[in-house]
């Protein structure tokens, strides 16, 4: 009876899209689990995660191992991407499925940082926001979970319902930055 078709959060938004030195694409939909250790249980959570090559991230950090990523996502909260929550975790932490709650976007290219500087009030210079660094920050008027995925690549997670606005905002900024680059040339 599994006859329901699934719809991706960025379906119909015209992605991927390249403008100037920047490409915006939807990230593949992955399993996302919010992990919130109970008081005093971070060490126990760490023990379970260590078996997967992961650890519970400090604020502003993320870790990657074997195709899975664990990303700090707020006070005493991390999001585990790309794998099911390991066995034994639920004894020490609240777990909730967030796979459908977020729209993931990747912005990459030499102008990615300039584009984000139009929308995010945080310091994304390499020294201040290294690869794997992450933050919760406002993207114009919505909130975003941003993670540096590479030298010139950023992953952005916004609430699923706001994906359209996020793509609109980013596209606008990409257009303006592309116009500046064209003017310089």
């Amino acid at each position: 009876m599994a006859d329901l078709s699934a719809r991706e959060p960025c379906a119909g938004l015209g992605l991927p899209l390249t403008l100037g030195g920047c490409r915006l694409a939807a990230l593949p939909v992955e399993r996302i689990t919010a992990i919130q250790p109970f008081p005093g249980k971070v060490a126990a959570v760490e023990t379970v995660l260590r078996a997967q090559g992961l650890r519970f991230p400090a604020p502003g950090h993320s870790h990657e191992a074997g195709g899975a990523r664990i990303v700090w996502a707020g006070r005493e909260t991390a999001f585990l991407f790309g794998m099911a929550a390991p066995e034994g975790l639920s004894a020490h932490a609240a777990l909730s499925d967030q796979s459908d709650g977020w729209a993931g976007l990747r912005l990459e290219g030499p102008d990615a940082r300039a584009v984000l500087a139009r929308l995010l009030p945080i310091d994304l210079r390499a020294g201040a926001f290294e690869p794997e660094a992450c933050a919760r920050a406002p993207l114009n008027h919505m909130q975003v979970l941003i993670r540096r995925a590479g030298e010139a690549a950023f992953d952005l997670f916004v609430y699923r319902s706001m994906a359209g606005t996020a793509v609109h905002e980013l596209t606008d900024a990409m257009r303006a930055v592309a116009a500046r680059q064209a003017a310089v040339r």
């Binding site: 599994a2 719809r7 909730s96 967030q98 319902s161 706001m162 592309a178």
Partner: protein, 977 residues
């Protein structure tokens, strides 16, 4: 006739540009400002003054310009108050003068000038005090028509604007000799540097005075340094960027002109408003020259000496014969430099008696300019000297009353500068802005060599402070002339001598202010309006307070300055609000059912940031009411489907979750059994109702609570606060899962039949009774099922992961329609809940208590909760309270409206008689009557009474019967199914 000096200037003569001013076509060159291009075409008259409509020309060559404000026309759009000295020339630039009628050369309102004796300082305050009512209706409109600046087009500004954020180690503000050196030192040391300059071309006075630096011309040396800086990956050069404000924590506001200098900016924004966060800043903003107040010093052709130098050296403008009037060595040097460049200096006038006379031009030591002549442009300058008064023929009068360090930004956080007697100027004190060093002319070091040295030295200090190793950098050789000045502010020779050109303030106005008791500088400013124009008195503040100090007999130091506040130069609101228009105003939250809903023709309404269907129109329905009535009946008789995903969903887990919920809800949640749901009420700390919703116990230590759509954020914040503030050690964690689940309400007598079409395991009244909850397989997908209702009918809510939302909605609507039901929207939802007396935030609007809404019984006596004690304060419970009631019109078809007030039948509709108000109203097709919910004083004791609903806004008076707020199925038999 061209007024250019052949071969001179930094303009690109291979790129001529056509532009128009007041309908006349002119030609300029790439690299010109509008001001330089007009001057090069012999146009001296560019505007009319604010109050007296006196003819005015260009005074300065920078952003401090008080006179030359124009309107830039782009199609139907008009940008007023553009400084001609800042606007760069582009092909097709169309400009018109402002504040004149019918034309710039003949301005009817110039008659104001004839009445000048009556229009002096304080005129408005004295004249228009009486009769009071005349101010708004007569005087103010008349004055606004006569006095003023440019006008807006009246159209929406469709231009693109941008805002952006930048971060750096060192922000260098100003790219003259000081700033360039500072940036070089910091850049070479590897620091992240932003060098911002308001000019289109960096170099500052190196481009205008063109002193020799390291054996090169000023512009060449600057170009070499800029090339080196541009090649450094750690240095960002921001031209056309004015740092406009200093804020806490090393944050600076800056306005960048991005596309305003281009004929076709394409996708470029017009302006970008930057917020720059810098660990350290070097202020290298130089200094601004100030004029001298003398009779008729506002005639077109009167300029600052530094401006004349700029127009000659940078733009190749021929100023004609020039008289220089100055009180300092820089003025004398200007006269020499102009002569060296082939300009005819008709005289150098200096009030100092000991000034050198061995020059290549006539020198008038101990001289003063006592007047000017020429109708719309300067023709003659009257010079009083030892031998009497001479009339000198000249097209340009260059004034120099000395230099004011540009220390405005140092004052933005409340710092006050010091008066330096030697420089006759204010200079910054150390430490006015934490982390900011002031260098070069901005702190009174005026020679090129001193600026270069100071920029390098302060940058080295800043680096050392940050622990960055700097390299020794040899200082380039440059002029190191001394600067001497004899303070001289105003010529006393009768007539009107202008201090503030932008707001038409004369020396007499300032003196009069002092005489009338406005002797504090802040009072003088407000009384005369000196310094309150768009230029913020950059050319006039110091002279005005010197004249005031003289009139009061206090020294300048004791008189003090007015306060410099951001922005340094005008910032368009559009730039500050960039990104806030259209879709940028607020994020649009779209439901998973959005596409289908819109395809079904539903008009959408905003609920918080969400877009929800208002109703689903069907063929033959002419009004929303018809659709709404049909949808309500559909729910009451068959089944309706509604997307309720917007309700906040918060997942609460942990061994202490039940305790925590007991703390935030008024009622007991710890006693809910797993698999059951309970309605709950939350209070704010002040005892008033915060929100209501359901609390489902999914497992022993796992709850899912719902909030109203609008309160999802505030409730989450409230929970966070309660947890962090009162019970941080409790083992409870919560997170929003609103977006994770698409949730649909199925309501109506056929709701169970419908839900069973989707469930793998059918439910019935026994295995899934009223208020049950639990996991469910829905069309093959793991979801959740709740037996709850907001309509008063048998109701289920099913939740599936959001990716399946669209498909589930489509299926539900199709199945419901086949059963005689269908989708229903917010209008029907509202009527359904009014019929049932269910509250929303229309009722729990922030000023009501649980007692008021008849839910005092839900405040558990067995436990404490947030807001409980506060809700027991005197005055929050009792007959004096306005309590929730139902209202039924005596004539069922009489329309009721929310917002109306309630009065006893024969009382007039005045405040003291107010008995309450209506919060929700709607037509009930079920009861064939209008219904309303509202709050009525002692309402629960008044069921059965007749009360008058009075809607003053719509002129509606309706007699209503006060009833219990549950109109439909008060026993709840249908609800429980």
């Amino acid at each position: 006739m061209t007024h250019r000096i052949p071969g001179k200037g930094l303009i690109d003569r291979t790129r001529p540009l056509r532009f128009s001013f007041d309908g006349r076509e002119f030609e300029g060159f790439q690299g010109d400002t509008l001001a330089s291009a007009l001057l090069a075409n012999g146009v001296q008259l560019v505007g009319r003054s604010f109050k007296y409509h006196r003819p005015r020309g260009v005074l300065t060559a920078g952003s401090e310009e008080p006179n030359a404000l124009v309107e830039v026309i782009e199609g139907k759009q008009k940008t007023p108050n553009v400084r001609a000295t800042v606007q760069e020339l582009y092909g097709g630039l169309t400009v018109q003068s402002q504040n004149r009628w019918p034309s710039l050369r003949f301005d009817v309102m110039a008659v104001n000038d004839r009445f000048a004796p009556f229009l002096s300082a304080g005129f408005y305050y004295k004249t228009f005090m009486w009769p009071r009512a005349f101010w708004e209706k007569v005087y103010e409109p008349a004055i606004r028509r006569a006095a003023g600046l440019g006008a807006l087009s009246g159209l929406h500004d469709e231009g693109r604007y941008e805002k952006a954020f930048a971060f750096c180690d060192v922000l260098v503000i100003g790219a003259g000799p000081t700033g360039l050196m500072a940036a070089l030192v910091a850049g070479r040391a590897g620091a992240d540097v932003i060098l911002a300059d308001e000019d289109a071309r960096m170099g500052g006075r190196l481009l205008s005075d063109q002193p020799e630096v390291a054996g090169q011309s000023g512009p060449d040396w600057a170009a070499d340094m800029l090339a080196e800086l541009a090649a450094m990956p750690n240095v960002r050069l921001m031209t056309r960027t004015t740092v406009t404000g200093v804020y806490d924590g090393g944050t600076f506001g800056a306005l960048q002109r991005v596309g305003l200098h281009l004929a076709d900016p394409g996708d470029l924004p017009r302006e970008c408003f930057w917020r720059i966060v810098a660990k350290r800043a070097v202020l290298a903003t130089g200094a601004l020259e100030r004029p001298i107040a003398h009779p008729d010093n506002d005639r077109p052709g009167v300029m600052l000496a530094s401006a004349v130098q700029s127009y000659v050296a940078r733009y190749g403008v021929n100023p004609g014969r020039v008289v220089v009037f100055g009180n300092n060595d820089s003025a004398l040097q200007a006269a020499r430099d102009l002569t060296a460049q082939g300009v005819q200096v008709a005289g150098y006038v200096d009030p100092r008696a000991d000034v050198s006379v061995l020059e290549e031009f006539p020198v008038y030591p101990g001289g003063q300019v006592v007047g000017t002549r020429g109708r719309l442009g300067l023709r003659e300058v009257a010079v009083r000297h030892g031998g009497g008064v001479s009339m000198l023929t000249a097209e340009t009068l260059a004034l120099s009353g000395g230099w004011n360090p540009s220390l405005h930004l140092t004052c933005h956080l409340g710092g006050r500068p010091d008066w330096d007697e030697r420089l006759a100027a204010f200079v910054p004190r150390a430490g006015m802005v934490a982390g900011m060093s002031v260098a070069g002319a901005a702190r009174g070091r005026f020679s090129t060599a001193a600026c270069l040295a100071d920029g390098a030295a302060l940058a080295a200090e800043v680096l050392a402070d940050m622990g960055i190793a700097g390299h020794d950098m040899p200082l380039p050789a440059a002029e190191d002339r001394s600067y001497a000045i004899a303070p001289f502010w105003a010529v006393d020779a009768g007539g009107r001598a202008w201090l503030d050109f932008a707001n038409d303030v004369t020396t007499k106005d300032v003196q009069q202010a002092a005489q009338e008791g406005f002797s504090s500088v802040e009072h003088m400013k407000r009384y005369t309006t000196q310094g309150m124009a768009p230029d913020q008195g950059k050319s006039s503040n110091v002279a005005a307070l010197a004249v005031l100090a003289d009139a009061t007999g206090q020294g300048i130091s004791a008189t003090g300055t007015t306060t410099f506040r951001p922005p340094y130069t005008p910032v368009s609101i559009a730039a500050m609000g960039a990104g806030g228009r259209g879709m940028g105003f607020a994020p649009e939250r779209l439901l998973t059912s959005d596409s289908q809903t819109r395809a079904m023709g539903a008009p959408m309404i905003e609920a918080g940031l969400w877009y929800r269907p208002s109703y689903f129109p069907r063929a033959g329905e002419a009004t929303w009411r018809e659709a709404c009535d049909r949808e309500v009946s559909m729910v009451r008789t068959a089944v309706g489907v509604c997307d309720v995903s917007t309700l906040g969903k918060i997942d609460v887990q942990g061994p202490d979750a039940d305790r925590f919920l007991d703390l935030i809800y008024t009622n007991m949640m710890s006693s809910i059994k797993p698999g059951r749901t309970r309605y709950g009420l939350m209070l704010r700390e002040d005892g008033h109702v915060m929100d209501d919703g359901t609390c489902a116990r999914l497992g022993e230590a796992h709850f899912l609570i719902t909030t109203t759509t609008a309160a999802a954020g505030p409730v989450m914040r409230h929970m966070d606060f309660v947890h962090q503030a009162f019970c941080g050690d409790w083992a409870v964690r919560f997170t929003s899962v609103t977006e994770q689940w698409a949730q649909f309400a199925l309501a109506g007598p056929k709701a169970r039949e419908l839900v069973n079409k989707l469930l793998e395991t059918p439910v019935d009244a026994e295995n899934f009774p009223f208020m049950a909850c639990g996991p469910a397989r829905i069309l093959g997908v793991e979801g959740r099922l709740f037996r709850i209702s907001f309509s008063g009918e048998m109701g289920y809510e099913i939740a599936v992961p959001a990716r399946f939302g669209a498909a589930v909605f489509e299926r539900l609507v199709a199945e419901a329609e086949a059963m005689g039901g269908g989708a229903y929207g917010m209008e029907a939802l509202n009527v359904l809940r009014i019929e049932k007396g269910f509250i929303t935030h229309a009722e729990i609007h922030g000023r009501v208590t649980a007692f008021d809404i008849g839910m005092q019984g839900m405040v558990s006596a067995k436990k404490d909760c947030i807001g409980k004690s506060a809700s027991q304060r005197p005055g929050l419970m009792g007959p004096e309270r306005e309590q929730l009631v139902g209202l039924v019109p005596v004539d069922p078809q009489a329309e009721l409206s929310a917002g109306a007030h309630l009065y006893n039948e024969n009382d007039p509709a005045t405040r003291v008689n107010n008995q309450g108000y209506v919060t929700s109203a709607g037509y009930s097709p079920t009861l064939q009557s209008w219904l309303a919910l509202g709050f009525l004083r002692d309402g629960r004791a008044r069921h059965g009474q007749i009360i008058r609903l009075d809607d003053g806004l719509r002129g509606r008076k309706v007699a209503c019967k006060v009833v219990h707020p549950v109109f439909h199925d008060p026993e709840g038999g249908k609800l429980r199914g």
